[in-house]
């Protein structure tokens, strides 16, 4: 897709989004005007701002038709073909890591993500990859769970139990 087409598509998308916001506020029954003795309705602020967003999208579309914006005259690809693959694989791996958190927990998914990225995207050697995978687990556990006392998701019960054992060890011997 060219940048030119992408700009029009984005403006249409943003227009639909803005109208959707306005519809959402209206359908929730929020007052978009003045309420006697009570002041501005709770829908006033978001409704009129959403209308402003819709008007800005129309304005961009008008500028696109007139060829005023630089993007509307740009026929080059919207996504750089040379780096498109790298961007997509990075995003897919990131999404996979977040998806896996509910099953295998934060630590394993973080380590797998780092390992996959370094080994298959970066072609780094195994020792360096494994060192960073292990290091990331220790760093996150130490900073977030230990120092900041934040609970990070551990996934299925089997992984939860494993970390309970580590937590117990920490409380018993290291605190």
């Amino acid at each position: 897709m060219s940048t030119r087409n992408a700009e029009l598509l984005m403006a249409i998308g943003m227009l639909v989004f803005s109208l959707g916001l306005m519809w959402n506020i209206h359908s929730d029954g929020l007052v978009i005007g003045w309420m006697e003795e009570r002041g501005p309705g709770s829908g006033l602020w978001p409704f009129w701002l959403s209308l402003g967003m819709a008007l800005c999208s129309v304005w961009t579309m008008v500028r696109w038709f007139n060829g005023t914006t630089a993007e509307s005259r740009d026929e080059s690809p919207y996504m750089d073909p040379e780096s498109f693959g790298l961007v997509v694989i990075s995003f897919v791996l990131l999404t996979a890591m977040i998806f896996l958190v509910q099953y295998i927990g934060t630590y394993l998914s973080v380590a797998l993500f780092l390992g996959a990225y370094m080994r298959f995207v970066g072609r780094h050697k195994w020792p360096q990859t494994l060192a960073l995978m292990g290091g990331s687990i220790v760093f996150i556990y130490f900073l977030f769970e230990w120092q900041l006392a934040k609970y990070l998701p551990k996934g299925l019960p089997i992984f939860e139990d494993a970390f309970l054992w580590i937590d117990n060890y920490r409380w018993e011997y290291l605190m």
């Binding site: 780096s83 990131l94 999404t95 977040i98 970066g122 609970y151």
Partner: protein, 506 residues
């Protein structure tokens, strides 16, 4: 004046407390590192590391983040000079002469000039900050909701008038940020608003940190991956003691432009839409205009490195002035700092000076110390930073992504927010590719709840009379702000009409 000196003395004492001093060192180091990485700047560092600061008290936290802000400004020059890629947009102007100098084998001279100019810029701006902050905060104490709202309109108007981006897209970005801030329970009536797809998670609203980390963590990395294609070429830097002392003697060749750039940078930095990037570009332009040898600019003139570096450092301090005194951030980075202050339980604005003097003066004191620490660390660690720059993107990218995920989850305790961060990051990246500026949206999501509250309070107080904002008797400051805001919004229109007229005459 004596009172200011006493308070500043207390602030300096606080900055020298062991924990705060450690925070300054850690912040400067982290900032230098983050600033030096291509594509990453202070805003990315502050957004990604904000969740970690909950480990320490608010004063130490802001000291860490302010030091990081400082360090990143210094660090930006490292990649501009050695890679030819700006560490952040604020260091774009440094590439113009920094890169040619590096190619001529004078990278060490350019790096030293950048560090010394940054130090001068930082010092001049902190002195100006100390002088201007207390009177401005005193004035702001008289502000009511009308003035607060008008000031926010003025802040947004600067993006439209001075941002230099596409106007409808800038306005769209501002409005989008304001609407996102309104998601969740209404702050006055308590009614739920914009609960998309009936997902209860939206009742808690969209946190500014989720948007900031999404845009400046995920979106920025995708952007950097695309633009650099994942590979960079580091220019060699030769450093010896003899060259170091020789480079020190060259200060006099750029001291005048550095001083001018520092003052200019401070004042440009106070404007929300302007900030460090235009300040450094303006300073570069000024240095070239006043130079005896303007043709040498762009080919490796040392003043062309010093001038923008002094200005971008001064602008970073300048942008903190409206944040601390008025509660209006002067840059996207200070917008995130302001959001952090709200999370820490502080109410940004003029009352901070009265209610939290330790916090404010501790921060000001730390700025003096951080400036000194950063220049020393920068000069000492130049060879290490250059080596760090050679770190492959295939290591840096997953680390940043992991920090974004863990940072957002540890702040909000919800996987929903992590998914939202990814969606907003991807959305921000796709919008940015089409020239939609993302900084106004971040500023707007931070200021949104404050803007809505002050607008509604004003209207309730005036019984629905919208002219209360422009009442010359009761609210002259509000009227003044709104007039300036309108003029700023009309400024690009006037500019384009002039251009058309000039083209027609030509």
């Amino acid at each position: 004046m004596t009172e200011v000196m006493t308070l500043l003395g207390n602030g300096l004492l606080q900055a020298f407390e062991p924990l705060n001093l450690f925070m300054i060192f850690a912040g400067c180091l982290a900032g230098l590192f983050i600033g030096a990485m291509p594509g990453l700047g202070s805003v990315n560092g502050v957004a990604i590391l904000l969740p970690v600061t909950f480990l320490v008290p608010p004063t130490s936290a802001i000291i860490f983040l302010a030091a990081l802000y400082y360090g990143a400004m210094y660090g930006g020059a490292v990649s501009s000079i050695t890679l030819g890629i700006p560490g952040a947009s604020t260091a774009v102007a440094t590439v113009f002469d920094g890169r040619p100098m590096a190619q001529k084998g004078m990278a060490d001279q350019a790096l030293m000039a950048a560090a010394i100019a940054s130090f001068i810029g930082g010092t001049v701006s902190i002195v100006l900050f100390t002088l201007f902050a207390p009177p401005l905060a005193n004035l702001a104490l008289k502000f009511g909701p009308q003035e607060e709202f008008a000031l926010m309109i003025l802040a947004f108007a600067t993006f439209i008038g001075l941002g230099g981006d596409d106007i409808p897209k800038t306005i769209f970005s501002i409005l989008l940020g304001l609407v996102m801030a309104a998601v969740g329970f209404d702050i006055i009536s308590g009614k739920p608003r914009m609960i998309f797809f009936d997902l209860v998670e939206f009742q808690r609203g969209i946190g500014f940190l989720v948007l900031a980390i999404g845009i400046y963590g995920i979106g920025e990395m995708l952007w950097t991956l695309e633009t650099t294609k994942g590979s960079v070429q580091v220019q060699n830097v030769k450093t010896t003691w003899a060259r170091f002392f020789d480079n020190l003697t060259k200060i006099k060749s750029y001291i005048a432009t550095t001083s001018l750039g520092s003052i200019l940078g401070f004042f440009v930095g106070t404007l929300p839409a302007a900030g460090a990037t235009p300040a450094s570009l303006m300073s570069y332009g000024l240095a070239k205009t006043f130079s005896k040898d303007p043709d040498s600019f762009g080919k490796g003139n040392i003043a062309g490195v010093a001038a923008p570096e002094a200005a971008n450092n001064a602008a970073s301090t300048g942008s903190m002035l409206p944040m601390i005194t008025l509660g209006i951030p002067g840059s996207p980075t200070t917008a995130i700092l302001l959001g952090g202050m709200i999370i820490w339980g502080l109410r940004p604005g003029p009352l901070l000076f009265a209610e939290q003097p330790d916090f404010v003066w501790g921060l000001i004191g730390s700025m003096y110390v951080a400036n000194l620490v950063t220049v020393m660390l920068n000069l000492a660690l130049i060879p290490i930073f250059v080596r760090v720059l050679a770190m492959p993107f295939t290591i840096l990218t997953p680390i940043i992504f992991i920090l974004c995920f863990v940072g957002v989850f540890s702040t909000t305790d919800r996987m929903f927010d992590v998914w939202l961060m990814i969606a907003l990051g991807l959305g921000g990246y796709l919008l940015r590719k089409l020239n939609y500026p993302v900084a106004p949206a971040v500023l707007a999501i931070v200021l949104g709840p404050l803007a809505e509250r002050s607008m509604r309070q004003s209207l309730i107080g005036s019984r629905g009379d919208a002219t209360t904002f422009i009442n010359p008797v009761e609210h002259p400051i509000s009227l003044g702000c709104i007039i300036i805001a309108i003029l700023l919004m009309l400024y690009p229109l006037i500019l384009s009409m002039r251009k058309k007229r000039a083209a027609a005459n030509a």
